[in-house]
């Protein structure tokens, strides 16, 4: 009867958001190409990509969590802690780098499980549960490493393949310097997209975010799925840890908190709603790159770090504001004259 116009308006509106985010990305890119110093170069592009890996992996993981209406504040410290523990196995116990990486992933996944159990089974509010595990994780990493910096293999040492595989190919190899990390991120994005859009796991993620109780009464084992979703997020933090280690080599205990906010900012810029039930990974990727472009672009204009912080804040607010405005406008437009 009444709402025949509705679905035409509603469905593409989400695509519209992504379009909007994408156009912001393009506008920023063009802007910096004109006003930045040497912005439109292969080097800068590589820098943009390189600066996106670890945030990108975290953002992919936390997109699932945010779609459930939750939050994960422990992303950043889980990244560092897992990389520290892996690094400790490598540096202090003499494990092979491959085994250490597995340990890194396992550690992060364990933190994901911890979060999942707290949120799903013990019914703690996600903000608090993950705030707690942020602190626990940060402390734990420092305790295990005795507050010592851990180092991953550097170029020129025996295990340098680690860098070549996860970060940047060997400049002396036939393909030269190629940012392999970008391929990994792309692969992770594709896999995660299939997971979110084409599997039960993904459907239940949306269902739980939209109405958890209704999902449970529909026979969905919401606690188990929710715990799994947080676990997945932990797993992705572990991946982020590996790529962080590959890019920065040095892992310093007691750091990492704050990085989660960048990942969350990326998700939010990409149009995933904090209230759950709505979101997309494509948006998240765009959001992450908006931040990277902003970062490299401002630098190419000679503006230092604090300007990036400042403008990232503006973009976060602006993105959500714009989105609110767009929805309101879409509603208004629908009025016949």
């Amino acid at each position: 009867m009444e709402n025949t116009t509705l679905n035409k308006a509603k469905k593409p509106s989400f695509g519209l958001h992504k379009l909007l985010a994408l156009s912001v990305l393009v506008i920023l890119y063009v802007f910096f190409s004109i006003f930045g110093n040497n912005f439109l170069s292969w080097d800068t592009l590589i820098n943009i990509l390189n600066a996106s890996y670890y945030i990108g992996f975290m953002a992919i993981g936390v997109t699932f969590v945010i779609i459930t209406g939750g939050i994960d504040l422990s992303l950043g410290t889980t990244l560092m802690t897992s990389a520290l523990i892996g690094g400790a196995a490598y540096n202090m116990l003499g494990w092979s780098i491959a085994a250490s990486l597995v340990l890194t992933i396992l550690t992060a996944t364990a933190f994901g499980i911890l979060n999942g159990v707290m949120v799903a089974y013990l019914k703690l509010p996600p903000f608090i549960a993950t705030l707690g595990s942020q602190m626990v994780g940060m402390g734990f990493g420092a305790i295990v490493t005795k507050v010592m910096t851990m180092r991953y293999p550097t170029v020129g040492t025996e295990d340098a393949w680690f860098k070549y595989v996860f970060y940047m190919t060997d400049p002396n190899s036939p393909i030269g310097r190629f940012p392999v990390g970008a391929l990994w991120l792309l692969a992770a994005f594709l896999v995660a997209s299939v997971l979110l859009n084409q599997t039960r796991f993904g459907r239940y993620t949306y269902a739980i975010g939209s109405n958890r109780e209704a999902a449970r009464l529909s026979g969905i084992k919401t606690r188990r799925w929710l715990a799994l979703i947080y676990t997945l997020c932990g797993f992705f933090s572990g991946l982020a840890g590996i790529f962080f280690a590959a890019a920065y080599t040095t892992i310093i205990p007691g750091t990492g908190n704050g990085l989660e906010l960048l990942a969350i900012a990326g998700v939010v810029i990409g149009g995933t709603s904090m209230s759950g039930g709505v979101g997309s990974l494509t948006g998240t990727m765009i959001g992450v790159f908006v931040m990277s472009v902003l970062k490299q672009g401002l630098m190419s204009m000679g503006l230092q770090g604090h300007w990036q912080t400042f403008f990232t804040g503006i973009v976060v607010i602006g993105a959500v504001l714009l989105d609110n405005y767009r929805i309101a406008a879409a509603n208004r437009v629908k009025k016949p004259t």
Binding site: D43, M92, T154, T157, G254, S300, G305
Partner: protein
């Protein structure tokens, strides 16, 4: 790897606040004098080496130490809390590497009134109230910075570039410096800048300017042809520091970079594929001359491969050892020098295995 500091098993509160710093602390009945050490951090290898030295002295002198430090070198507040907590434990003596020289004034006065001798280490506390610091064991940081400037200026390409610099095509020498609240980083930065400015002025009088940070900025008297550019990472996070390093590397005309501490060294290494991009044959920045500070595995790797022109090393083990030794001397009423320079040396691929240098290159 150095072992973690031992917990004090029993409170050592033999010293009453009324006691004079000169008074001898006689270890009685197995109770060792307790010395609290507050460092600027932990994470960097440098501090682990300091701790190693201090622990060595702990056994040698039969004292008991605790070693604490804030999580990062911008956590002035946390260090202050740690300092307060240390004072509350009534230590026999205190060794302090102050992150910020002014925020600790109250605590130094406190220590003085309680009769706790304070030994500075790593960096002094320049504006400390009269008589609050008994002695300081540290590198002469200004001299260390100046040494880096001299070494960089020695490089023929650098010198040539400066000679060739014109206001139209200025030459940039970059300094990556963590936000400067502590005397050591400030000292190195100033030492480097002053020396480098002086050396450049000798070639291009009136054309040398210091830019990038108002704290050090100085404009040239004439048209600028040589720019000493200081960049300060917005936070002490490695990611932010790396971005700042990338920003510096992207500048046209950059010929040399001085990194004033381990964080900024790590940052430039992260921005250059662990230094590989500085490779002298075909690296992306093959003509760039980089001088670092301190040691550590990645940095040593870069130096050994010749990617870094060289680095300045201090003697952290000696700093740690001396700090405790000076504290013990102060407790025993011996007079000690106000400043004990623990020395700094330049090392590069050629000399890093020399017997005089190798021990200083901790991991």
């Amino acid at each position: 790897t150095p072992k973690a500091p031992e917990e004090p098993k029993e409170p050592v509160a033999t010293q009453t606040p009324a006691q004079q710093p000169e008074q001898t602390e006689q270890p009685s009945g197995g109770e060792k004098p307790y010395i609290a050490m507050i460092s600027k951090g932990f994470q960097h290898q440098f501090w682990q080496a300091v701790l190693m030295g201090a622990e060595q002295a702990e056994t040698d002198f039969g004292v008991e130490i605790t070693f604490d430090g804030p999580p990062s070198e911008s956590d002035v507040a946390i260090q202050l809390d740690q300092l307060n907590a240390a004072l509350a434990k009534n230590p026999a003596a205190l060794c302090l590497a102050a992150l910020d020289t002014e925020s600790v004034t109250t605590q130094l006065l406190d220590a003085k009134s309680k009769g706790i001798p304070v030994i500075g280490f790593d960096s002094g506390v320049p504006n400390a109230p009269e008589g609050t610091i008994v002695s300081t064991a540290s590198t002469d940081n200004e001299a260390a910075g100046a040494l880096a400037a001299e070494k960089m200026f020695e490089v023929p390409e650098i010198k040539a570039a400066i000679e060739a610099a014109t206001p139209e095509a200025p030459v940039i020498i970059g300094v990556l410096s963590q936000d400067a609240t502590s005397a050591s980083v400030t000292g190195r930065t100033i030492g480097f800048l002053n020396k480098m400015a002086e050396l450049c002025e000798g070639v291009k009088a009136g054309a040398v300017a210091i830019t990038g940070h108002d704290k050090y900025a100085k404009s040239s008297t004439g048209k600028m042809a040589v720019e000493l550019n200081i960049l300060v990472p917005p936070t002490t996070n490695i990611t932010d520091a790396q971005t700042t390093a990338q920003g510096l590397l992207a500048k046209n005309g950059l010929v040399g970079v001085f990194c004033s501490n381990e964080l900024t060294v790590t940052a430039i290494l992260a921005a250059t594929s662990d230094g590989q991009d500085l490779n002298k044959t075909d690296g992306k920045y093959k003509d760039l001359v980089v001088i670092g500070f301190d040691a550590g595995a990645t940095q040593k790797n870069a130096v050994r491969n010749g990617w870094f022109y060289g680095s300045i090393t201090q003697d952290p083990v000696r700093i740690g050892y001396l700090a405790v030794e000076l504290a013990v001397k102060a407790l025993n009423g011996e007079t000690v020098d106000e400043i004990v320079d623990t020395g700094a040396q330049f090392y590069n691929a050629a000399n890093m295995d020399d017997a005089s240098i190798a021990p200083l290159l901790y991991d």
